[in-house]
Symmetry: D2
Subunit: 268 residues, 4 copies
Amino acid sequence: MTNCESIEEGDYILLFLDRRRSYLIRVEKGAQFHTHKGFVEFDDVIGKEYGTRMKSSLGVEFAALKPLLPDFIYKAQRKSQITYPKDVALMVMFSGVGPGSKIVEAGTGAGALTTALASYVRPNGYVHSYDVRAEFQRVALKNLKKAQLDEFVEVKEKDITLGIDETEVDAVILDLATPWLVVPHAHRALKGGGSLVSFSPTIDQVVQTVEAMQIHHFVNVGTFECIMREMQVMRGKTRPQTLMTGHTGYITHGRKVSYRNGSEFESA
Amino acid sequence: MTNCESIEEGDYILLFLDRRRSYLIRVEKGAQFHTHKGFVEFDDVIGKEYGTRMKSSLGVEFAALKPLLPDFIYKAQRKSQITYPKDVALMVMFSGVGPGSKIVEAGTGAGALTTALASYVRPNGYVHSYDVRAEFQRVALKNLKKAQLDEFVEVKEKDITLGIDETEVDAVILDLATPWLVVPHAHRALKGGGSLVSFSPTIDQVVQTVEAMQIHHFVNVGTFECIMREMQVMRGKTRPQTLMTGHTGYITHGRKVSYRNGSEFESA
Amino acid sequence: MTNCESIEEGDYILLFLDRRRSYLIRVEKGAQFHTHKGFVEFDDVIGKEYGTRMKSSLGVEFAALKPLLPDFIYKAQRKSQITYPKDVALMVMFSGVGPGSKIVEAGTGAGALTTALASYVRPNGYVHSYDVRAEFQRVALKNLKKAQLDEFVEVKEKDITLGIDETEVDAVILDLATPWLVVPHAHRALKGGGSLVSFSPTIDQVVQTVEAMQIHHFVNVGTFECIMREMQVMRGKTRPQTLMTGHTGYITHGRKVSYRNGSEFESA
Amino acid sequence: MTNCESIEEGDYILLFLDRRRSYLIRVEKGAQFHTHKGFVEFDDVIGKEYGTRMKSSLGVEFAALKPLLPDFIYKAQRKSQITYPKDVALMVMFSGVGPGSKIVEAGTGAGALTTALASYVRPNGYVHSYDVRAEFQRVALKNLKKAQLDEFVEVKEKDITLGIDETEVDAVILDLATPWLVVPHAHRALKGGGSLVSFSPTIDQVVQTVEAMQIHHFVNVGTFECIMREMQVMRGKTRPQTLMTGHTGYITHGRKVSYRNGSEFESA
């Protein structure tokens, strides 16, 4: 995600064969990368512009691309179920976060969502990412380093359902099993008007989360899902693809407002 | 989209009644904002924190929210058909743009997509937005100013199908009637590995665009659509909403690679 | 739904103007049918073949079609929310009913589903249709008579949640608020291997119904919904339609098997 | 699809284990049916009511169901891609066919659609099914015999794009590669007001078919697809299934009306 244009030793590149086969790898002088379509010499790409093509030892053409955010998301090591780029994109949009935002996130998981958040809050924003599972956070940190985004993230081995340390945050973004338990903490941590966004696979999680948000006076509370349909485009044979991911999860979002005078939460 | 926490004169606020009725308005000292649910005194909100609630003259409760990116998109003055936040979010994600990116966009339209792009490239990126219709660009500039994002955008009254002035850009992002005519120009303007993303309502536009991208050696070319489904969440009555927007458009994306040796475009 | 080919006095015809405007009317000698596009003389169509075209008094072309099952369903007088032809089609298919089947149905509603069931069980099957609302059943009977299907239906003003009179039925087909209350009665009424099919708009109804079916040892229990998407087909402009019905309801189906030895329901 | 209630030698039964594993088999006295969950003795089910449960040699429970139409469709031997029950259901509904209808169908394929049409036109209707591939028709006939529906079908080894022998038919139902070539023949074969229904996987086939139908003055021409989404229903964990069939095909339908006076097709 740097801006330098030519490929140097130590850079991560996306070695692209086709839409199903691409590799996120680190360029090493004098080394080779082996695939079932032959090996590629790293020395062939060092000093070249991104987007260059090269031939493998078996004569198969590869391209060396600069990895972009969706590549880092797709390639995040999958210790947990990964959040899909489409859902990441929609959570970012509906949270309203951008450069400079201060965000609380949980759980860290393999860091797919964390990577996206860190990417968009640069250069002056920050992500506090909670997870109780240290082994996930090690993976996440590794993935964040690959994307050169670790400096924008604090990984906290803590249970967010027990509380949030930060205050005056712009957004609380949740992808965990019991988001409703976090809602009261989120209300306390958020700035006035701040966003709560939660991702859940099941309808029961959604219902509990929406109820908690209503109890805590969030406004503009809505839930939606995005069904993403790939097209197979070829003149004379264009059609939606036969198999698709039918469901990943529901996205629920809302905005914090002050409690009403006399509300039971007033003194909270 | 500033970071100041209390509402001041001259700020834009989102005056929120419910999910169907909210107003993006500028706070004026001593003035009132009239709705069918009574009027609101701006002096009641000046100096208050965002997220504050107030009562209208008819006793109806409103909340004063800081407008976020999706609010600016939804509220962009509709001189042309607006791009939906979901599509904006996915185009941003699949383009891989973020803080620091240099982007070419066309057409400007009412500036909905432009606003999003400007928001995400801050503080050191830039958007060059082409449109042949001066009257649209006036509207877009007004919308960009509301969101305090006009300094990150150059609006160009030019026909992008005739050429792109910029070079070494990170992404070319298109929402216009004949995207396939822009593909050769986009190849020339993009950095190696740069992204082309195009939004089109019809399948025929998609087919022509994909063909042009294949001719010009873009790789990782894919087309998808996002069908967004709102849920009506209420314990015991939860269900998808009856009416939905069934289609907005298809998103096609791909990455530039260098032309092959001996390619007909080599000298281009 | 008769087989006679020429239009005679007393027949119902579908007077077709375009996909949004068509009229299910009874042919009367010497009379006229008035529309906002002028009036049509019934005498112009009497004795003509179905499919004939005619001009209205304002010179607008209409066609006189024989009403088919989906026309009767769409045109059923809407005292209640109507079941959609797509859902009717899928309920019929998954129930496995056909000519000769003996069916119990509830609620009758405006008779849309009843009409379809009666149509498919002809000439030697029968539908017993329960509803507690006499005024609905009057409408349903009127609709069934129009389609000449009333002889295949017994309309019963009874609460099916209190019990089913019939036994050895091929299928029990439900479109009512509390289908789970009918599940034990359905098990008793069905033949071995018979089908239970239920239509419900909300997820909570589905969960309760599936649980009741599991308790009563139904097998092959599944739930699905059909999202129907209309295409706007025009060379160079083909695309899915912008607005669509996003949700009508979920269809749950299963097959009766005998209770296990020693089951609590054994003696039932 | 007979009405007898107890299982006899020679009957086909659906031996049901779970939603993924069931077997359409013929009952043979003294024989066994072997599965990976042990074998079942046919003598255990002969004389029993449909819906009876039995244990395999390994103590696993099976149920013996009467095969219904969707079972015959799912289990049709797959020499060609099978038409999905949902599409069969919708094609039947939108064609308006039912008991007594006279239908022309092409291509026969493995007989899945043919089986459904034959089932619904019983006892006094008829299906003329065209296919140029004799080997498919042999499979189709075998499948029709299993379902005891072969007496309602004439299988014709003929190329329907060259013409239709029948006249005054209620519906022409197409599932073949070039439906637009059949449209003129269908107009000639259909009764006034008769239905043409066509199933095609690609958009290009749809466009060509709709254009041919417009040229030949079909009215009420529409195209849609049904996206079927299975739900995973379990209290506390209910959600749409992760993987789904994203696309099978588009259904196009319309009604024949007489040609206009002076039309180029008038003398046809």
